[in-house]
Amino acid sequence: MADLKAQIIEQLNLQEVAPDSIGNDQPLFTKEGLGLDSIDALELIVLLQQHYNIRIANPEEGPKIFHSVRTMAVYITENQTVKA
C-alpha cells in the first residue's frame, strides 16, 4: 500500500502530502479525508490503467473501489490475481 500511496501522490500532484500521512482506511473523497474531487477520480482511473493495466468495466463500482487506499489495493490485488 505504501507504493500505491506514493503513486496516488504523484498522479494527483498532492503537494505537501507524505505517503505516511494517508491512512489506509481514510476516505479519499470526503472533506474529512483527502478531499479529492471528480477530476481526481478520473486521474485515479488512469492510474489503475497505467500502473496495473486494470480497466474499470462498471463505473458504478467506482465509489466502492476508490473509497480508500485499502479498497483500491484490494481491488488491484483481486483483479491482478484474476489476470494472472
Binding site: 498522479q11 503537494q15 478531499g35 477530476i39 486521474e43 488512469v46 490503467q49 497505467q50
Partner: protein, 354 residues
Amino acid sequence: MQIYINGTGCISPQETAQGGPLLATPREYEQVRLATVDPDYKQWIDVKQIRRMSRVVKMGVGAANLSLEAAGITAPDAIITGTAYGCLDDTGVFLTKMVNQQEEMLTPTAFIQSTHNTVAGQIALLLGCNGYNNTFVHRGFSFENALLDAIMILKEGSAQHILAGGVDEITNHSHQLLSRFGLYKKTPVKTMELLNSPSRGTIAGEGAAFFTLGITKQPGAVAELSGVSTLYKPLWEGEVIGHIMKFLEDNNCTPADIDLIVTGRNGDIDQDEIYEEVADALFPEHAEASFKHLCGEYPTAASFGVWMANAIIAQQEVPEAAAFFGKAPEKIKKVLIYNHHQGTHHSLVLLTAC
C-alpha cells in the same frame, strides 16, 4: 465617461508583487531569459487547488488578487484576460503525453489546464464570479484588446468593475523555438545595459499584470485609462507617427500635453529604431521611460508597461531603473505608453492622473 484604474497587480521578473516604492531594488540579470519572481501563492490559493495550477495560472491568479485587493473590490462584474501563448506548459505536457502514450490513457488535468482561457476561468472559480468572462488571444494585441473590451463594456453600462489583464509565460520548449527565430541575443547582456546594446535580438520575459477598472473612482485610484489604440503592420514610420497624432487628437491633447512617454524599447537595434523616429518627430524634448529591460519581451509585455506607468503617476517620479531619457516634469499628469511587438503589433495607451 471616465474609466478609473482602481487597483493594479503585477507579477514579473522584478519584485513587483511585494508592494512598496516602484523598483526600489531592481533586479539585474545577465541572461537572455527572465523568469518571474514568484510570491507565495498559497496566500490566495488553497493547497488542494494550487496543485493543479501551472505557473502561468498562478501568476494570473496572483496578479488578479493583488489588483482586486488594491481596489478594495472582492467581486468584479467581469473578468477579461489577454494572452498570446496561453497555458503553454500544460499544453506541452498534454501534447507530449499524447505522443508518448499514443493517444491512450490521457489524464484530464493537463488537458483542462492547457486552454488559453484557463487563467480567466480559474480567477472566476476562485472568486465565485459568474459574470462575463472572456480571453483574447491576439498575439501582440491580446492585452490591448482585453482593455478595449473592458472599456466598451464599462461604457455600455453593463458592468461597474472589471478585472482586465495580460499574462504570458515562457517555457523551456517555447524558448528553444523562439530562439531559433533569432528573437533573442546570442550572448547574455546585463539587463541595465540592454537598451544600449548595439546588436540584434532582445531578452525573453514573462509575467502577469492586472487592472481593476471602474466607472467610479475608488480611494486607491491614481489614474484614468483615457485611451487605447492599436495599429497592425504599419507600412512605414510615418504611418505610426500619424496614428499617434490622431490618437492624441481623439483624446483631446497634443504631444505638448504629454508629460512622459513610456516605450517598449527592447534592446534590439532593428526594433528600437521606430521608437527613435517617433521620439524625434513628436517628443524630442520629452522624458522617456522604458520597461522591457526590466520584464523582458513577450506579447503581453505592454501590460507591465501600463502597470509601471500607473505606478509612476502614483509616485510622481520615474525610478532611475526605468528612466531612459530626460527628466520628467514635477507633475506627471499624462503618460503615453507606446509599444510594439516584433514590429507588427503597435499599441498606444494613454493614462491621465486623476
